[in-house]
């Protein structure tokens, strides 16, 4: 790993009202790395990546991307910079078709008399190709509304979209939720393949054993803090699990007092 990290986070703090969601988090992410971001529910994983993909603005602290300090936080800017995110609970609008969701925010257009008209053909063809690759049912077409899809199928659309528009960073928030065993394997292979193409992949999960096999580095968060940052070669999955457990107990004690 040479040169400056692709993403640098320095002393990040984030409050939601009185709730302290991120406590002084500092991290480096390099291109060509697959990073497992692990922690229990409420640990701050999703909040952290929501800062990285521009949904939340940090209360204080700095985010550097590719050697430049990020001043404004908006998903549009993040996407334009090449950060693709597979969000857990958001990302699809139930009322729109697969094709429309697929291209939401970056719709391809043809100009007719200067008016940007959606390029329906391209939207349909591309999204159909991708959803077939991710194993959607044969009777699902790109024109079907997302509302009709099962949980796994929805996840497939999100992953397909991220892969299709991949650029420099792909962030996956619990990507294997709702997926069958075979689909899960497919996603994991994909994560590795993306990394090998030189992208930064941040893989969020609470299953340490699953991600230990894939990742180069594991970051563990607990209660809004980073409590571990170690290369997978340096620590076994069991050792890491112990860290999580310890962190958990520390918190319990604190709350008991």
């Amino acid at each position: 790993m040479s040169g400056t990290p692709l993403i640098q986070v320095k002393n990040l703090q984030l409050y939601f009202g009185a709730f302290h969601a991120l406590k002084n988090v500092s991290l480096d992410f390099n291109a060509g790395e697959l990073i497992g971001l692990v922690g229990d529910n409420g640990a701050g994983k999703t909040t952290l990546i929501r800062v990285l993909c521009g949904i939340h603005k940090p209360t204080s602290g700095e985010v550097w991307f590719n050697g430049e300090r990020v001043e404004k936080f908006h998903p549009k800017l993040a996407i334009d910079q090449g950060i693709e995110t597979i969000q857990q609970s958001v990302g699809l609008c139930d009322n729109l078709s697969i094709a429309r969701n697929f291209y939401l925010g970056r719709e391809p257009v043809r100009r007719i008399f200067g008016i940007p008209i959606l390029d329906f053909k391209k939207m349909r063809e591309m999204s159909t190709r991708v959803i077939r690759e991710f194993g959607l049912r044969d009777n699902v077409s790109a024109d079907d509304e997302v509302e009709r899809l099962s949980g796994g199928e929805r996840q497939s659309v999100k992953i397909g979209r991220a892969v299709e528009f991949k650029n420099r960073v792909v962030i996956m928030d619990e990507p294997t939720n709702h997926l069958s065993v075979r689909e899960r394997e497919h996603v994991n292979e994909l994560a590795v393949a993306l990394k090998e193409q030189g992208l930064l992949v941040i893989y969020i999960t609470h299953d340490i054993f699953q991600v230990h096999k894939l990742a180069d580095r594991i970051i563990i968060m607990e209660n809004g803090e980073k409590i571990e940052d170690a290369a997978t070669s340096a620590m076994t999955a069991d050792a890491l699990e112990e860290v999580i457990r310890q962190g958990g107990r520390k918190v319990e004690k604190r709350e008991a007092v």
Partner: protein
């Protein structure tokens, strides 16, 4: 099998309900009124009313599409009418209309700006501006009203903005049709439309995909204001008259039209032709009661019952369609 096919149709097109209702009503009205309802002159009247109410309804439908609501359109309509008639007398109607539409747009921008900047529920903000601009409209016409003598009306531009007929139909209808086509293209075939519906469907998801939610909502309110201003100007041009009461209670009719036309108040699902058909149905019913000589006391009662009954009927139809 036919029922299954119909179910699919209803599932896909939320406006089917109102088209069915409209069809049945037209048949019923035409056969039961002895030619009093179904004649060209009356149709022209109904369509003229539909034109101005419809323009307003289209705007409200867009706002509803983003999951917000605009109940200030009645007052915006009134302001548009006053501005148009005041200027049409003094300068050219074309410039007057431009001014009326601009005023409408500004009111829309005022609403949109407050709602997106402060994150306040649009119902309250637009309720506030409904009152503000109604008060201003009444204050502007304190002691007098604007009108253009019948004999003084003339010229192409006056004709064009609701002041004349083409083939027996008010020219306001042209503006409705043009707006409908433009807005349907805008909504269904442009990135803006895609994002607008996405915002209404799930603002968080749209935001996460890089859509500037506030800008989309702001634009929807501006368009809604523009259309209400246009509608007000057209109505004033048709009447040659405007006072502080113009557009009173029309906001309620516009919202009712949208709901009848299959627009989901929660946002994300709107049908512009459906909303327009809703406006047509409301004005048809109203006209039917008039031509049949029903005592005026019954109007408002019937209107109330029909709005709820139609909304309920639409709901039941869709529930039936979703059942497998």
């Amino acid at each position: 099998m036919a029922a299954q096919g119909f179910k699919r149709l209803v599932r896909r097109h939320s406006e089917i309900g109102i088209f069915l209702i409209a069809g049945l009503l037209v048949v019923f009205f035409a056969t039961s009124s002895d030619g009093r309802w179904a004649n060209l002159y009356n149709f022209a009247t109904i369509l003229q009313v539909t034109a101005t109410l419809g323009l307003m309804t289209l705007g409200v439908a867009l706002v509803i599409g983003t999951g917000e609501i605009d109940i200030s359109v009645g007052s915006t309509f009134g302001m548009g009418a006053l501005v148009y008639l005041w200027l049409a007398l003094r300068i050219d109607p074309a410039i007057a209309m431009l001014a009326a539409v601009t005023v409408g747009g500004l009111i829309g921008a005022f609403n949109g700006w407050l709602i997106t900047k402060t994150g306040t529920p649009s119902l309250i903000i637009t309720l506030g501006s409904l009152m503000i601009f109604r008060g201003i409209a009444i204050a502007l016409t304190d002691g007098f009203s604007f009108s253009i003598p019948y004999a003084a009306r003339g010229g192409f531009t006056y004709w064009l903005f609701g002041g004349g007929d083409i083939l027996g139909f008010n020219t306001g209808l042209i503006w409705l049709l043009v707006s409908l086509v433009v807005l349907m293209i805008l909504l269904r075939a442009t990135p803006f439309g895609n994002r607008l519906l996405a915002v209404g469907g799930s603002a968080a998801s749209a935001h996460s995909r890089g859509v500037r939610v506030d800008r989309i909502k702001f634009s929807a309110f501006v368009i809604c204001g523009l259309l209400a201003g246009l509608a007000g100007g057209l109505e004033a041009g048709k009447l040659g008259f405007a006072d502080g009461s113009m557009g009173r209670l029309m906001e309620l009719q516009a919202i009712a039209s949208c709901v009848l036309g299959g627009c989901l108040l929660a946002g994300g699902r709107v049908s512009l032709p459906g909303a327009l058909m809703g406006a047509f149905v409301l004005s048809s019913i109203q006209s039917y009661l008039v031509v049949m000589g029903v005592r005026p006391q019954w109007f408002i009662l019937t209107l109330g019952v029909i709005v709820v009954a139609a909304a309920l009927g639409d709901r039941l139809l869709r529930q039936w369609a979703v059942k497998r």
